[in-house]
């Protein structure tokens, strides 16, 4: 019997997923494991990270609790983690305020988590040479980076920076045959929507703006991420993939 043909398989690859304790990160960890990857899951909340670990398929997965806005956590994570073939930089938060009411500490918080952590983690991984040759980096940006909505300036700007950062990584790590791409999801059904300060009614109204009249499911973003992690995405680097409708 021949092995099933699947260029999207992640068998033999180890993938680090940040923000794996909920939403798109959790779905990515689960779907990666279903496609054969060994998952290194990281997140701030140990209990919720445990729930993700319990949902993974297969053996050998690792969870490392870390707050990526703390330098000591980043260096401990990189020290403890195995060699990886894939990095999914997904951890993100949102704070919704009109520009005139933006608070300095919230702005810092959003950028620390969404943007600066991408820089510090990528730097630490590459300096420690923990990413294997031929590896793939996927940075979760957002459609919000391109389609701005009132009150979303902090999140939108932080995610626009992430999209750009993914392209810089593609350029600088190409000599190591490492690819880097950004994923731009539209609105997805995740706990983050509850942080956004939108009423349930406003969310229902917003869904009507989508062609399918619904938000995305976390796994529908994970499958795009998996394309870029897998050998199927071997000739995609420096690109941005919109997943929305």
């Amino acid at each position: 019997m021949t092995e099933a043909y699947n260029p999207f398989s992640l068998a033999g690859k180890t993938v680090l997923v940040t923000g794996a304790s909920s939403g798109i990160g959790r779905a990515t960890a689960i779907e990666c494991s279903r496609l054969g990857a060994t998952v290194v899951a990281t997140g701030r909340d140990e209990a919720r990270l445990g729930e993700t670990m319990a949902a993974l398929t297969g053996k050998g997965h690792v969870s490392i609790q870390a707050d990526l806005t703390k330098a000591e956590d980043v260096s401990r994570l990189v020290q403890e983690m195995p060699q990886i073939d894939g990095l999914v930089c997904n951890a993100g938060i949102t704070r919704r305020r009109p520009i005139s009411f933006v608070k300095e500490d919230e702005l810092q918080e959003v950028f620390n988590t969404n943007t600066f952590a991408c820089f510090t983690l990528t730097k630490a991984i590459m300096k420690a040479r923990k990413m294997n040759r031929g590896g793939s980096m996927v940075f979760v940006s957002s459609m919000a980076a391109r389609q701005v909505t009132p009150g979303n300036a902090m999140y939108a700007a932080s995610k626009a920076a992430v999209e750009s950062f993914a392209r810089s990584c593609a350029l600088e790590y190409a000599p190591m045959q490492i690819r880097s791409n950004a994923i731009l999801p539209g609105m997805v059904e995740t706990p983050m929507n509850n942080e956004g300060g939108l009423s349930a009614e406003a969310i229902e109204r917003d869904k009507q703006n989508y062609l399918m009249k619904r938000y995305g499911k976390p796994e529908e973003i994970a499958w795009g991420i998996i394309y870029l992690l897998s050998d199927a995405g071997a000739w995609s680097s420096g690109t941005s993939m919109e997943i929305t409708c």
Binding site: L171, E172, P175, M176
Partner: protein, 79 residues
């Protein structure tokens, strides 16, 4: 500040070039892998490890790795 360690740090910025190629006498501009990105990585490494800022002109003027080492020493006031 030792030349052996400097050569090692310099070589550490390259991916594909055989480590045996690197010595204090290596004419680094002639290495196939040497590029503007590698030059920037070497400048950043020098800033991080040796605490001095080497300019692009210094990189261009240096022929061998030892020449660059001497530039760094001069900038550090050790020469």
């Amino acid at each position: 500040m030792e030349i052996e360690e400097f050569v090692e740090n310099f070589a550490g910025q390259f991916v594909d070039t055989d480590l045996n190629v690197f010595s204090k006498d290596t004419v680094f501009h002639e290495l196939d892998e040497y590029s503007s990105l590698i030059a920037l990585m070497v400048i950043s490494m020098i800033d991080e490890v040796y605490g001095v800022t080497v300019e692009y002109d210094d990189m261009a003027a240096a022929v061998t790795i030892e020449d660059l080492f001497n530039t760094v020493k001069r900038l550090k006031g050790e020469q």
